[in-house]
Each structure stands twice: as structure tokens, then as C-alpha cells.
């Protein structure tokens, strides 16, 4: 019997490199949006800590514990990645599977910030966007999330359907940065 074969959002598009920057596709594992029910914010934070060892992220922040991360992801929700949420969390929050909704790429290398400066209006200076910071913003004209995972490494997420556009835009920016030497 046939079976369904999984394809990643950037299959066939990555990796690419240039301008001191390398872009690879990341498989963050399961991704679940968590939106607390009204008045359940505190109990949810406790349940998260017990279930997965991370707290509720402050706006613009993320928390990591091993391969597991929780990202602040909007005015009313966070994104748990790297682990499927324990079902008990559903007592405190709406859980929605987002594991197939996003293309996730890692952009790293010395020129990363120059490349991203060509794509997003976000202030990525160290003071404004330290390691661990997570923002929703735009990348070119796409809704995006940007997470800083290390000094010169950022994760960029856009909707799955826009993976090609993201890779193309990164490529053009990388060429421009590379050419300046």
C-alpha cells in the first residue's frame, strides 16, 4: 500500500550561501500555538513550567530548554516548538497545531545582519535584539517571525506557501552584500 510522504517547505530550495552568510532549512519539530483562556494566564504559565520546563515568554522574548523552545508569537499567543504539548495544557489554553504552517530557515554568518537589514524594518542591533529575542515583523512584504538564536544566527519564519519568495529575497540580498566585499 502507498503511503503519504512528507515534504519540508524549503525542499529543493536550501541550503544557499554567499556574502559570508549561509541559509539552511530548520526542522524545529512540532509547533503548537498556545493561546491562554481568559484569566488562565497564570495557571497556564505554571502548567507550562511543570510540563515542559519553560515559562510563558514575555513579549518579544523566547525561552529554550534543550531542543524545546517557546517563542512569544503575538498579542495573545506563544509558539511551542520542538515538543508536542502535554494535553493538560488544553485545560488552560487553546492549542493549535502549526507544525506545517511555517517555513523556518536559519540565516547565519558574519554578514547576516547586513542581509537582514535589506529585508526587514526590525531594529536588529544588539541592544534592541539580543540573543533570544523574538519578533513578529515583515520580511519584504511577508508576515514573518524573527528569532535570534546566537550572535550571528537568526531564524526567519514565513508562511509555508511563501518559502520560495523568502529564499529568493534572501538570495538577492546576499548577492548585494557579497558584491560590496
Amino acid at each position: 500500500m502507498a503511503e503519504l510522504v512528507a515534504r519540508t517547505p524549503c525542499a529543493g530550495l536550501l541550503p544557499i550561501a554567499g556574502g559570508g552568510v549561509r541559509v539552511t532549512e530548520v526542522d524545529p519539530g512540532p509547533m503548537t500555538a498556545i493561546a491562554p483562556f481568559r484569566g488562565k494566564e497564570k495557571t497556564l504559565a505554571g502548567a507550562l513550567k511543570r510540563a515542559h520546563g519553560v515559562g510563558w515568554p514575555a513579549p518579544g522574548q523566547s525561552e529554550a530548554s534543550g531542543d524545546l523552545r517557546i517563542l512569544w508569537f503575538g498579542h495573545s499567543h506563544a509558539l511551542l516548538t520542538g515538543v508536542a504539548p502535554k494535553p493538560t495544557l488544553a485545560n488552560h489554553a487553546a492549542l493549535t497545531d502549526q507544525g506545517d504552517a511555517w517555513a523556518v530557515v536559519q540565516v547565519e554568518g558574519a554578514g547576516t545582519r547586513d542581509v537582514l537589514a535589506r529585508l526587514t524594518p526590525l531594529d536588529l542591533r544588539d541592544g534592541a535584539f539580543p540573543v533570544g529575542a523574538c519578533a513578529r515583523s515583515e520580511v519584504q512584504h511577508m508576515q514573518a517571525a524573527i528569532l535570534r538564536v546566537a550572535g550571528d544566527a537568526y531564524r526567519v519564519m514565513v508562511f509555508r506557501s511563501m518559502a520560495r519568495t523568502l529564499v529568493h529575497d534572501l538570495q538577492v540580498a546576499m548577492r548585494g552584500v557579497a558584491a560590496r566585499g
Binding site: 513579549p59 518579544g60 503575538g74 498579542h75 519578533a135 513578529r136 515583515e138
Partner: protein
């Protein structure tokens, strides 16, 4: 122009959508009558000077904001989450 999103901090207006005056928060009762609904949906003070209007941080956190702004100078003096404004009024 930049808007101080209470959640995300100062952001370029390109991340936001504009709706209009914050009077849109004050939806009349269903039976308030034609004039009340006309005033709500159509008629505007349209001030030349300070105003409060509604912006949606669509490319950011997704929050609706009440922004205090001047329509002549474009100065932005503050922003509050619409749900908080609404909560305060209730």
C-alpha cells in the same frame, strides 16, 4: 512615522493598517436608531490636531491599538491596546 506598539515597541508604520477614528470602539446598541448608527459609521469630527485613531499591527503582534496622534504634525504621543481601552470603558 513610527508607532510605539505597547507590546512590540517602536515600529515603522509599514507594519500597521489604519482604520479610522477610535470612535469605532463605541458601537451603538442594535436599536439605537438611524442617527446613532449614521454618526457611528459615517460622521466624523475629523479634527485638525490631536486625535485618537485605530491601527492594527497586522505585520506584527496582531493587536489593535488606539494611537494618540496629531493629524497636522503627525506627532505620535502614545498608543494603548484597544482591548484595554475597551476594558477600561466597560
Amino acid at each position: 512615522m513610527r508607532i510605539p506598539c505597547p507590546i512590540c515597541g517602536s515600529r515603522d508604520i509599514r507594519e500597521f493598517d489604519y482604520m479610522g477614528h477610535a470612535q469605532a470602539l463605541d458601537r451603538p446598541d442594535p436599536g439605537a436608531g438611524a442617527q446613532a448608527w449614521d454618526d457611528y459609521l459615517h460622521n466624523r469630527d475629523n479634527p485638525a490636531g490631536p486625535t485618537r485613531d485605530l491601527w492594527f499591527h497586522g505585520m506584527g503582534c496582531g493587536a489593535w491599538l488606539v494611537v494618540e496622534r496629531d493629524t497636522v504634525s503627525h506627532e505620535v504621543t502614545g498608543a494603548t491596546l484597544a482591548r484595554d481601552v475597551k476594558g477600561g470603558a466597560a
